[in-house]
Symmetry: C2
Subunit: 739 residues, 2 copies
């Protein structure tokens, strides 16, 4: 790699479409500072194809972009701009495979119940593509996320809508009080490097080694179990409670990130809710290959092979459940898609903030918002949402105009705390004991388990913890803001971490800083009490809370988490600049397909690329890069101020229009700045031309809106085809080409 | 006074009636230890009579029992057993005057709007009788309240009923967010003794000295204002919100303790709720002397002089309000008595715990329990109830079997923090400025006020604070329990106290103790989190929170606050032992009158007298007193264990029956003990006789139940007459007389 290269990721859905318009602008500008923007494809389709590259003909093989970038993270000069990608659920994987097959890629089907070694191999390859497959590879550093001053200022000046909270709201979070991961968690810190065994001991005493796990010195290993019966009883009770109290029932899990444990949890919700159906048709469903972990959608999908009459009977049995159960929250009431249809539709970290922002309501069958019981079975993190709900009932909705901000420093490096998302999570096939045994045969941790229980272990290495503490102190110092380490004294894992935090804090000058350690409920309450008083508080958290909080607070503060500055200072010295945390927006693609209007807001990309330029400028001593960065930030501020962000519907400015304005403002800032005369001279003509032709360009961009865009691929897009759609203004393209 | 004298108070209503049966037992037993129990009358009637003693003929004059005891508190040997008394509201005062006049005491009427000096003098005398008139005189020490081990053990074995909490409960606390005392509080600590002036400065610059206030060195003086318009707007908004959300509206103030400020607050609630009525008939009501601060009852009372038709018209106008307003919580739905009828019917410290214990519900017009908006306008302390409600919604009702305990050490001595209950509270008659000016003319504090605002100042002397800190540390040490000083960092007063607390804590050995300072919400949350985990936490609080918390937690833990051990270690060395904090139970009197059944539980008296004996024994080196105390505690424990506490209805054991069993068990314990042979010998025959005649005595006691008791006085009882009612067992009386 050249040290002057920025790796820009091609991902999925809306951000990928936007890239076709935006990257040419970035590239054209960057070229003037001798910087190259290299596009690296890590889309779901590309990851599937590269996983089966050996089975494809040479002309259909693709490079493994993810592996390339993963290797790059070890390079101290790595500079990666990472856009949101799909964390694929099984249904999404199926759809992508189907599309690729239709495009002539001869891929094997995903074997749900692999029997042969070959099938097992195929499943193993696909499983590496499923769920959060990208982040663990790329995030070779901890996480530093905050609202940039310009964005925060904009939100204060132009506050987004916030649903009012009624003091009489009946909405609440519901979670298990016993039998869950939280209650059963155990944790040990390795005093020396060794390989431990994760073993299952059957009731007959037979020992099955589920996994050998090499650990390094100082590594924290947790284990925990969720009791299947307790989980199902909890679902049944919460359903009954919702029914009795006439409140909507809504499930919120994280089937993407916790890709092994949470689909199972989701599946139990499906089979408990539709208990009557699964009891009656259980055997048939098994034959058909229905997998409740894939949602009710799997039932509708698999019964299509049955005779019409039988299909109808099953559908009626499903509908009958709705009369005995409480109302179920909807993902899409128009199309009758409930919360239980697809496991990836409702993702707790995004759905709970949306609910809290929407007066604590979810959408009902009638298309209207209703109070809801938000069911998050596992209590470890669910409690913070109840705390937030109680807070809003007591104090009303947060006010974007007056509220402070809660930036996050998150532990993430080296796959820290990847709960339930990896090969250390097991669904128990029999009663017995799961235990962790060290190299000398000592049992480090053990749980009595029952058939159906979900047992999981989780690793957190020492170096990332040490770096995380350092990053927390650095952020507290740089922004002169109190920092709270969220470590729950009732969690075994957190108590192990607390010891390390207390040790590593001593390595830093913390004089004059306000650094505290608090349990989750205390910490969120403390932060919220400060928040409504306009005060800022840095949350220094583990990986899951990083994920949750960098949606929760930004959505309250900014209306979206996509506007956050999201930096991964790599342990090896490089940097990754993530854009947005708001997912890849499938609904935006739908709108583009139907009416050639893309409402994706590339603000996150603007912010990330500015930091990317700045870092490159500092590290490579590239003055022009710094000027580009500085002017890009100013242009972004102007874009916000002049309200040139994408609107939501045909006739208004869309993603492409906002890119044009960014380019114009950026060029104007470059022309006007005096730090680098060469750049000023270079950009003056472009600034002039774009300003003169503003009306023409805007008209050309607007002209294409309103009719289907003619997009042929969804998961595997043809970039040349997309470029035609996304760059419809010849005037603009021509002007840009003059650089 | 003899050093071997215990002063036992004659108070009002149920406890006074119980005294007629119980005191003879205590006296008979005490005599054997050479202890005399002296009955001192501090009933409302007695206090009224002594206030006008000079106007009464010699044979109708009564001693000023309250003054006598007040003087006694300065004596290091003082030993006072204090039973609950009436804190009279105006309606209660009227009723008492009426009864006394009927009994031939020629008392002046209470002049509501005094004009002549004579009327003003009469009003001033009565005002000393109103509200919390007893406690400020007698409580010459701080407060030490806790659940005795036997009582806590009993509650764990025989848990009282606790209403379940629904996660979907809509109940909540509603309070002002601005314009209240909390927001406006200012506080200064006097660096030297001096007299300050509380002045009103009119808009024309005229200065009116409302009060000259001599202060001593180290005394903390607060001032605060509640804006009348903000208060009335708040009531209107909360009514509208309740109406819109179809939730019952319920007002909770403390018109007794905060006898100047809170009746005014109550009056505003009445005139806002019945706005239409007061707008239409305002002039007429003024002529009639209607005082909304006395509740809607005052309207019904005063209109009785009007022609039938006009009365009917007004009553219909009142009824019409109920259709435009939200449902109003009822005190007595059978008799149509709402929360707004009488200011002393609903007293926040008792009513809120009852609501929380009852699933967060209040009683509606239909006689059923409903979710309610609990309106406590002033936010200083109201917030803790919202915290408690949120906690119950989240965690369910408290469980008496498993919960810990929250004892209280309360700042109370020398009228500390008597907010709104004294002559430093003023209702503003015009717009202007209220200010506190020191001897040198410096303005120490000031508030811009408007007509109708309530401005109040409040004193807290240094010595009580120092003693309170000491008592907090002592209790923490003696019970090896964490102690939390509840001091809110957003309150000016508490910040002054915090400085003193931090200073005085250094005077004590706190090594190994867990002593913290927390804001109210933090403190109650911390205590509740520990509570549900079975852990104890001492609350070290100011005066109002003392009052509130020693109802709140005992009612959850024990089902009643009457079972608390309540000790006032006097600053001068004496001790007062208070029995119960549950009021004087007017409904119990009603039941006795109608069916000669008294369900008052004298447990508080048993506990208090035991401590009183013990303290006397220690101070006067009276070994027999200690043995009496020890055996009384054991007898109380046995009484609880054998379920000989009063039941609730005719046919079961009542107050008198429980006294018999206490006497029998006490005698048995004394006969069985070996610490003092003389006492054992003395009580052996009585123990034997009572055991032999148990059936006869119980039958004699039961025989009188079921018919009206023939009680002639209510406020001013004839003790000889009451003794006949309360001591109907000749067999028991004769046996007791053998001592």
């Amino acid at each position: 790699m050249s040290k002057q290269t920025i790796y820009y990721t091609l991902t999925d859905e809306a951000p990928a479409l936007a890239t076709a318009s935006l990257l040419p602008i970035f590239s054209a500008f960057a070229k003037e500072a001798d910087i190259k923007l290299e596009l690296t494809d890590i889309s779901l389709a590309s990851r599937i194809l590269s996983a089966f590259s050996d089975l494809l003909p040479a002309d259909k093989q693709v490079e493994d972009g993810l592996k390339f970038l993963g290797d790059l993270t070890a390079n101290p000069d790595a500079n990666i701009v990472k856009l949101p990608n799909i964390s694929a659920s099984l249904p999404q994987l199926y759809a992508a495979i189907k599309e690729l097959n239709a495009q002539g890629y001869n891929l094997p089907n995903y074997p749900e119940n692999p029997h042969t070694d070959e099938e097992k191999e195929v499943q193993a390859r696909y499983s590496k593509v499923l769920g959060s497959a990208v982040n663990p590879v790329l995030r070779q550093g901890n996480s530093d996320r905050r609202a940039p001053a310009a964005v925060k200022g904009f939100a204060r000046k132009h506050p987004h809508s916030m649903g009012k909270w009624s003091k009489t709201s009946t909405s609440h979070a519901d979670y298990m009080r016993s039998g869950d991961f939280f209650e059963s968690e155990q944790s040990v810190t390795m005093t020396e490097a060794q390989t431990v065994r994760l073993e299952f001991v059957g009731e007959d005493g037979t020992v099955e080694v589920k996994k050998s796990l090499p650990l390094i010195e100082g590594e924290v290993l947790d284990s925990m179990n969720i009791n299947c019966k307790a989980l199902r009883d909890f679902f049944e009770e919460s359903l009954q409670d919702a029914k009795d109290n006439n409140i909507m029932w809504s499930l919120h899990v994280k089937a993407t990130m916790m890709k092994v444990s949470h689909p199972i949890v989701f599946g139990h919700a499906v089979t408990v809710f539709f208990k009557d159906v699964f009891e009656k048709y259980g055997e048939l469903f098994k034959e058909l290959g229905v997998n409740p972990n894939n949602g009710l959608g799997s039932v509708y999908d698999k019964i299509q092979t049955l005779p019409e009459a039988q299909q109808e009977e099953i559908k009626q049995a499903i509908d009958a459940c709705y009369t005995t159960r409480p109302e179920l929250a909807m993902v899409d009431s128009d199309r009758g898609i409930t919360n239980l249809h697809v496991p990836s539709d409702v993702i707790v970290d995004a759905s709970m903030p949306a609910m809290i922002r929407n007066s604590g309501k979810m959408w009902g069958r009638d298309g209207k918002a209703h109070d809801a019981k938000a069911v998050m079975p596992e209590s470890t993190y669910a409690r913070i949402y109840q705390e937030a709900i109680n807070f809003c009932k007591t104090n009303g909705a947060f006010d974007p105009v007056t509220m402070g901000t809660v930036p996050n420093v998150g532990l993430m490096a080296q796959k820290a705390e990847e709960y339930g998302s990896h090969d250390k999570t097991f669904e128990m096939k029999a009663n017995g004991v799961m235990r962790v045994v060290d190299a000398n045969g000592n049992v480090l941790m053990q749980h009595t388990v029952e058939k159906g229980d979900i047992w999981r272990a989780c690793q957190t290495k020492d170096a990332p913890i040490r770096d995380w503490v350092k990053l927390g102190v650095t952020r507290a110092r740089q922004s002169d803001t109190p920092a709270v380490f969220w470590l729950d004294e009732e969690r075994a894992h957190d108590n192990e971490l607390r010891k390390k935090v207390e040790t590593y804090l001593k390595e830093h000058d913390t004089s004059g800083l306000d650094i505290r350690i608090m349990s989750y409920n205390e910490a969120i309450r403390f932060s919220m009490e400060r928040l409504i008083r306009g005060k800022d508080t840095i949350s220094v958290t583990g990986n899951v809370l990083r994920d949750y909080l960098t949606d929760l607070f930004p959505i309250m503060e900014l209306g979206t988490s996509a506007k956050m500055l999201s930096i991964v200072p790599m342990l090896k010295g490089g940097g990754m600049y993530e854009t947005g945390a708001g997912g890849s927006a499938p609904k935006h693609v739908q709108q583009l397909m139907e009416e050639n209007y893309l409402r994706w807001d590339s603000l996150g990309e603007f912010l990330a690329v500015a930091v990317s330029f700045e870092e490159l400028g500092i590290k490579q001593n590239n003055e022009k890069a710094k000027v580009l960065a500085n002017c890009l930030d100013k242009a972004t501020g102007k874009l916000l101020d002049t309200n040139k962000s994408p609107a939501r519907k045909v006739g208004d400015i869309d993603n492409r229009g906002s890119h044009f304005y960014l380019a114009m403002y950026w060029a104007q800032e470059l022309a006007a700045q005096t730090d680098n005369a060469e750049l000023a001279a270079k950009f003056a003509p472009l600034a002039k031309e774009l300003a003169e032709k503003e009306a023409t360009i805007v008209a050309e961009l607007a002209a294409v809106q309103g009719k289907p865009a003619g997009l042929t691929g969804y998961y595997h897009i043809d970039l040349a085809e997309v470029a035609k759609i996304m760059r419809p203004s010849n005037t603009f393209n021509t002007a840009l080409a003059t650089l």
